[in-house]
C-alpha cells in the first residue's frame, strides 16, 4: 500500500490522465477555418482574370474559395503536427527571418523569438513548405502496391503509349526550290534517267547538297515531318515503298526529293517487361492522387470550414 502513496506514482498517473485527456479533447475539438476576407477573395478573382483573361463565374469563384480554405486547413493541420518545429527548411527560414529582424542570441533563441512573434504564420515560404509536407503525407497514407494483374490491365488500357512507330533508313536526292529550274521537273528527269532500280553509285552527283546529308537512318514519319515538313511525310505515306528502289519526287518545305528506302523497321510495341517500371509509376501516381483526396476528406471531418458567403462573391462579380 505504501506503493500507492508514492509521489512518483501520483505524478505518473496524473501525467497519463492529462496526456490521454488532452489527446481525447484534441480529437474531439473541431478546429474552425475562418471565412476568407474580401481582400483575399478579390485577390483570387484577380489571379483568375490574369491567368484566363476572363471573369470567373460564381461557381468558379466559389471553387477557388473552397480551394483556398482547403489550403488553409492543410496549413492548420501542419501546425497541429508541429511541422514548424521540426522541419529543417522552416527552421532555417525562421532563423533568417529572426536575423533580419535583428533578434540576438543563439540559433535556438532566435527561432523561438521568431515563433513568438508569429513569423511562421505569415511567412509564405514557410506556409507553402508546410502545406507541401502535409500533402505529401496525405499522398502516402492510403496507397497499395499493385498486383501484376493490375499492371497488366494498365498496360492494355494505355496500349497506345507503348507503340514504337515504323522507321525507315533511306538515301535521298534533294532538288532545291530556290534554283531557277523547276525542282519537280529536275527530279522527274533524273528519276527517268536513273530508273527505279538505279544503283546508288549512279545517283552520286545528282541534285543539290542538303544540310542534313543524303543518308538518314532509322527515322520515323514524325522525324521526317520535323526535318522536311509535313508535306514530305504525308506524300511518303501514300507511296507504296519497295526497298532498294527509287521513288518520288516527294515535296518538302525546301524543294523536291527522290528517295531510296534501304530498310523498313515495322511498327512494334514495347513489351510489358520493358515498360513495367513506367506502369508502376503510373499506378502509384493515381494511388497517390486518390489517397490525397481521401485524406483531405478525412481532414474535413476534423475541421469546420466556414461556408462560402455567396453574397461576398456576388458583390465582387458585379
Amino acid at each position: 500500500m505504501r506503493f500507492l502513496k508514492q509521489p512518483l506514482l501520483h505524478f505518473m498517473v496524473i501525467g497519463l490522465l492529462l496526456f490521454t485527456g488532452s489527446h481525447y479533447l484534441e480529437k474531439q475539438q473541431r478546429e474552425t477555418i475562418d471565412p476568407l476576407d474580401n481582400e483575399t477573395v478579390q485577390g483570387l478573382r484577380d489571379d483568375w482574370i490574369r491567368q484566363t483573361g476572363r471573369l470567373p463565374s460564381q461557381q468558379q469563384l466559389n471553387a477557388m474559395q473552397q480551394q483556398e480554405l482547403e489550403s488553409r486547413m492543410l496549413f492548420a493541420e501542419a501546425l497541429r503536427r508541429n511541422y514548424h518545429r521540426d522541419d529543417t527548411v522552416v527552421l532555417q527560414r525562421l532563423l533568417r527571418d529572426a536575423e533580419f529582424l535583428g533578434i540576438e542570441g543563439s540559433d535556438e533563441e532566435k527561432i523561438r523569438a521568431a515563433m513568438t512573434l508569429g513569423v511562421h504564420l505569415s511567412d509564405e515560404v514557410i506556409k507553402r513548405r508546410m502545406v507541401q509536407r502535409v500533402e505529401r503525407s496525405g499522398r502516402l497514407r492510403y496507397i497499395e502496391s499493385p498486383a501484376v494483374a493490375d499492371l497488366q490491365a494498365l498496360y492494355e488500357a494505355e496500349s497506345q503509349r507503348w507503340i514504337v512507330p515504323a522507321r525507315y533508313s533511306f538515301r535521298h536526292i534533294f532538288y532545291s526550290a530556290d534554283r531557277p529550274e523547276d525542282p519537280q521537273q529536275r527530279a522527274a528527269n533524273d528519276l527517268a534517267n536513273l530508273g527505279k532500280k538505279g544503283a546508288v553509285e549512279s545517283a552520286a552527283g545528282l541534285g543539290d547538297p542538303f544540310l542534313h546529308g543524303q543518308e538518314l537512318n532509322n527515322r520515323s514519319l514524325q522525324d521526317m515531318t520535323f526535318m522536311f515538313g509535313a508535306q514530305f511525310s504525308d506524300a511518303l505515306q501514300l507511296q507504296e515503298i519497295v526497298t532498294q528502289e527509287w521513288l518520288g519526287p516527294l515535296p518538302s518545305a525546301y524543294g523536291q526529293h527522290l528517295l531510296r528506302v534501304s530498310e523498313i523497321y515495322p511498327e512494334s510495341r514495347r513489351s510489358f517487361a520493358e515498360v513495367k517500371p513506367k506502369l508502376e509509376q503510373l499506378w502509384r501516381d493515381e494511388q497517390e492522387r486518390q489517397s490525397l483526396r481521401q485524406y483531405i476528406g478525412d481532414l474535413r471531418q476534423r475541421y469546420v470550414i466556414a461556408d462560402i458567403t455567396e453574397d461576398q462573391g456576388r458583390v465582387l462579380t458585379q
Partner: protein, 663 residues
C-alpha cells in the same frame, strides 16, 4: 560427367565471349564520345551529327516561385510534356482539375528540369504583384530596403561555420531537407529517359543555383549533369553564396570525386546582372584568382543567349543606328529588382553583361592572363515556370508562370504576361545520337546554337582550307569536319603559308507544322568581335547571305506575313579585315522574315486596330503604345568560333603549362 562439365564450361566461355564481343562491337567502333552509362546504342547514330532540339531551363512545382503561382506540374509531368503529353495549367477547380491545358505541337528531343536548389523563390515572389506573399512584411521590406533584404535572404549566419550554425557543423542537416525533391527529380529523369535503341528522348538531371549579388543583380546559373551519377544533394546558393563556392563544390563533389559524375554550368540572364555575371569580382567582393577562373572555364561551357526574360546577345541603345536587330526582346531594365523598385531601376547599358561584349572581355583576359574564361557556346531556353519545356510558340502564349499584371477591377481582355517578356527559346545541340553522353559532350564542345523558338537548322564551320565551293558540295558536312572546326571550336594554328580564315554557314528554315508553316529566312550574318593591337574592343556585323531589304512584312490587322524569303541559305565567307596578330571570335545569326509577336497576336485576337481608337478595349491600351513592338524577327545564334594568334589553354597552346602551374 566430367566431360559434361568441361563442355558446359567451354560453352559458357564461348557464349560469354560472344556476348562480350557483341557489347564491344556495339559500342566500340570508335565512338566519338565516351559512353559513361549503361544503355543500348542508338539505331539512328550518325557520325555527321543531327540537330537535337531541347530546353535546358525548366521550373516545376518544386520551385516555390512557380508553386506560389499555383503551378502543379511535377518534374515527371514536365519531362512527359517535353515528349508530347498534355499538362494541365492553373487555375484549378475544386477537385484539382485544370481549367487550361497545354501540349507541344512538336515534342522535344531532350529537356532538363532545373528547379531552384534553394527550394524557395522569394525574389520572384516579392517582385510579382498579385503573387501570394507579395504584400507580406518581408516583401515590403525587401522592396524598400533591398540592401538589408540581401542579408535576410542571402547572407551567411554569424556562426562562422560558413553555413547557418543550426544546420550542423557540415551543413548536412539543412542539405538533407532538400533531398526529397532532389530524389524525385532524379527519378523523374530516369523514368522518362529512353535507354532503348530507339533513343526517343533524353532527360538530363539539373538544378538552378539562384545566386544574386549584393545589389540584387542576377547571377543565376543552371547546373547540368552528364548522367545519373550526381551529388547527393544540389549545392545551392544557401550553401555558398559565391560563384567560386559553386565551382569548387562541383569540382569536389562531382568532377573530381571519382564517382563518374560530370557537370557543366549555364549562366543565364546576364542582361539582368548589371555587369556582374561576368565581372572579375565575386558576390562577396573578393577578386577571382587565376585558379578560380580556371574552374570557371572548366565548368561554364555554355551561356543562355535568350529566354523568357529577354535577350542577352547585344546591347541596343536609344537612337542606335547600327545593328538594330539588337533591340530584339531587350528588357527595359538591367536588374530584375528594377522592374518594381524605382530606386534601383536603371536602363540597360552596353557594359551590363551583353554577351557580344563579354566575349570580347574574354579575349582581353586571354591577352592579359594567357587564357580565356569566357569561351562559352550559346543556347537559348524558356525558363518556364509552368513546367512546360519547349512551349515557345508566340501563338497562345499562356504567360511565363501566370505572372502577368493583376487585372483591373472590371475584367476584359488582357495580356497573359508583362509586355516585356516573351515565350523564350530553344537549345539545339549537334550530336551523333540522342543520348545523355552524346548531348553532354556536344554541350561541352559547344557545338550548340540557340533559337528564339523556331526550329531552323544551322551549320557553321571555320577553317583555313575550307573549299570555296562547299555550298555546292553534296558532302559539305563531311568536308567541313575534315578541313575545319564546327561552331564552338577554336581555329587551329594558322598554317605557315598564311591565309585568311574561311567560314561556311548553311541554314534551313523551320519547316513548321501542318497548322503553322515555318517562316522563311530573310538573311544570315556573321558577327565578329576582336581586340586590336592597342587592346581596344571592336565588333562588326557582316551581311553574308539573303537580303535584309527583301521587303517582307506583317499585316498588323491579321498577323499574316507578306513577302518572300529563303527556304535555305548557304555561303562560304572569308573575313576581309582579318589581321593575323589580333584575337577574334565569329558567330552567326540566322534571321527569319518578320512575324507577329505574341502580344500582337493577343491584340489581333481582340480586333485591335490602332488607327481606330474605338477598337481598343480597356486592358489592351498598350497594344498601341510606343513600348509595344508588334513584330519580331525570330532568329538563331550559333556558338562562336575563336581565333587566337597563340592557341589558348586546352588547345595544345603554350599557355597550358602556365595554367597547370596555377592549378
Amino acid at each position: 560427367m566430367k566431360s559434361g562439365l568441361i563442355k558446359r564450361a567451354v560453352w559458357q566461355f564461348f557464349l560469354q565471349f560472344l556476348v562480350f564481343s557483341a557489347v564491344v562491337q556495339a559500342d566500340s567502333p570508335a565512338l566519338p564520345f565516351e559512353r559513361t552509362e549503361q544503355r543500348e546504342p542508338c539505331q539512328h547514330f550518325n557520325r555527321l551529327k543531327i540537330p537535337l532540339f531541347g530546353d535546358t531551363h525548366v521550373h516545376t512545382k518544386y520551385s516555390l516561385d512557380a508553386s506560389t503561382q499555383d503551378t502543379r506540374t511535377t518534374p515527371l509531368q514536365a519531362y512527359e510534356f517535353a515528349r508530347g503529353k498534355r499538362i494541365g495549367l492553373q487555375p484549378w477547380t475544386e477537385t484539382g482539375e485544370p481549367t487550361r491545358s497545354l501540349k507541344l505541337s512538336r515534342p522535344l528531343d531532350f529537356a532538363v528540369v532545373t528547379d531552384h536548389a534553394e527550394l524557395f523563390g522569394e525574389v520572384s515572389m516579392c517582385n510579382s504583384p498579385g503573387m501570394e506573399g507579395y504584400d507580406g512584411w518581408q516583401c515590403r521590406l525587401y522592396r524598400r530596403w533591398p540592401r538589408a533584404a540581401f542579408f535576410l535572404f542571402n547572407t551567411k549566419a554569424s556562426s562562422g561555420s560558413g553555413r547557418l550554425g543550426f544546420c550542423g557543423d557540415d551543413g548536412e542537416v539543412c542539405r538533407a531537407a532538400g533531398a526529397g525533391p532532389w530524389r524525385e527529380m532524379r527519378q523523374a529523369a530516369e523514368q522518362t529517359y529512353d535507354r532503348s535503341e530507339h533513343c526517343e528522348f533524353t532527360s538530363l538531371i539539373g538544378y538552378e543555383w539562384t545566386g544574386a549579388s549584393e545589389n540584387l543583380s542576377n547571377l543565376h546559373r543552371n547546373v547540368i549533369f552528364r548522367n545519373d551519377k550526381v551529388p547527393a544533394v544540389p549545392y545551392s546558393f544557401v550553401d555558398e553564396p559565391t560563384a567560386r563556392g559553386l565551382w569548387t563544390s562541383l569540382e569536389e563533389t562531382c568532377l573530381d570525386s571519382g564517382t563518374g559524375c560530370d557537370a557543366l554550368i549555364i549562366p543565364h540572364n546576364s542582361n539582368l546582372s548589371d555587369g556582374r555575371m561576368f565581372s572579375l569580382t565575386d558576390a562577396d567582393g573578393e577578386m577571382f584568382t587565376d585558379a578560380d577562373l580556371a574552374k570557371r572555364s572548366r565548368l561554364e561551357r555554355l551561356v543562355e543567349v535568350m529566354q523568357h526574360k529577354g535577350s542577352s546577345e547585344c546591347f541596343y541603345g536609344p537612337g542606335q543606328l547600327e545593328d538594330e536587330l539588337c533591340a530584339f526582346e531587350q528588357l527595359p531594365y538591367d536588374k530584375f529588382s528594377g522592374k518594381f523598385m524605382s530606386l534601383t531601376r536603371s536602363a540597360p547599358e552596353k557594359d551590363d553583361g551583353f554577351l557580344r561584349d563579354v566575349l570580347n572581355d574574354g579575349l582581353l583576359l586571354e591577352r592579359e592572363r594567357g587564357y580565356n574564361p569566357y569561351q562559352m557556346g550559346f543556347v537559348a531556353s524558356t525558363d518556364t515556370h509552368l513546367g512546360a519545356p519547349g512551349a515557345v510558340s508566340e501563338t497562345g502564349f499562356p504567360g511565363h508562370g501566370g505572372a502577368g499584371d493583376p487585372a483591373s477591377a472590371d475584367a476584359g481582355p488582357s495580356f497573359p504576361d508583362d509586355l516585356e517578356f516573351n515565350p523564350g527559346g530553344l537549345a539545339v545541340v549537334w550530336a551523333e545520337e540522342n543520348s545523355r553522353d552524346a548531348i553532354f559532350e556536344a554541350m561541352q564542345n559547344k557545338e550548340t546554337y540557340g533559337t528564339s523558338g523556331p526550329r531552323m537548322s544551322v551549320r557553321f564551320f571555320g577553317g583555313w582550307d575550307l573549299d570555296r565551293n562547299l555550298c555546292e558540295a553534296p558532302n559539305f558536312v563531311e568536308q567541313s569536319y575534315r578541313d575545319g572546326v564546327p561552331m564552338g571550336g577554336q581555329m587551329p594554328a594558322r598554317p605557315d603559308k598564311g591565309g585568311d580564315p574561311r567560314f561556311v554557314l548553311s541554314a534551313l528554315m523551320d519547316p513548321g507544322t501542318i497548322d503553322t508553316p515555318g517562316t522563311p529566312l530573310q538573311r544570315m550574318q556573321i558577327i565578329k568581335g576582336w581586340i586590336d593591337k592597342a587592346g581596344e574592343k571592336h565588333q562588326r556585323v557582316y551581311e553574308v547571305a539573303g537580303n535584309p531589304a527583301n521587303g517582307a512584312s506583317v499585316d498588323l490587322l491579321n498577323c499574316k506575313r507578306k513577302g518572300d524569303g529563303y527556304q535555305r541559305l548557304c555561303r562560304v565567307w572569308s573575313d576581309p579585315e582579318f589581321k593575323a596578330g589580333e584575337q577574334a571570335y565569329y558567330y552567326a545569326r540566322v534571321v527569319e522574315n518578320p512575324s507577329c509577336r505574341w502580344s500582337q497576336q493577343v491584340c489581333v485576337a481582340n480586333k485591335v486596330n490602332c488607327s481606330n481608337p474605338g477598337t481598343i478595349p480597356d486592358g489592351l491600351e498598350r497594344c498601341c503604345s510606343d513600348e509595344h513592338k508588334p513584330t519580331i524577327q525570330e532568329r538563331a545564334w550559333t556558338s562562336p568560333i575563336w581565333y587566337s594568334p597563340e592557341l589558348p589553354v586546352g588547345q595544345g597552346g603554350k599557355q597550358q603549362a602556365a595554367l597547370e602551374d596555377v592549378e
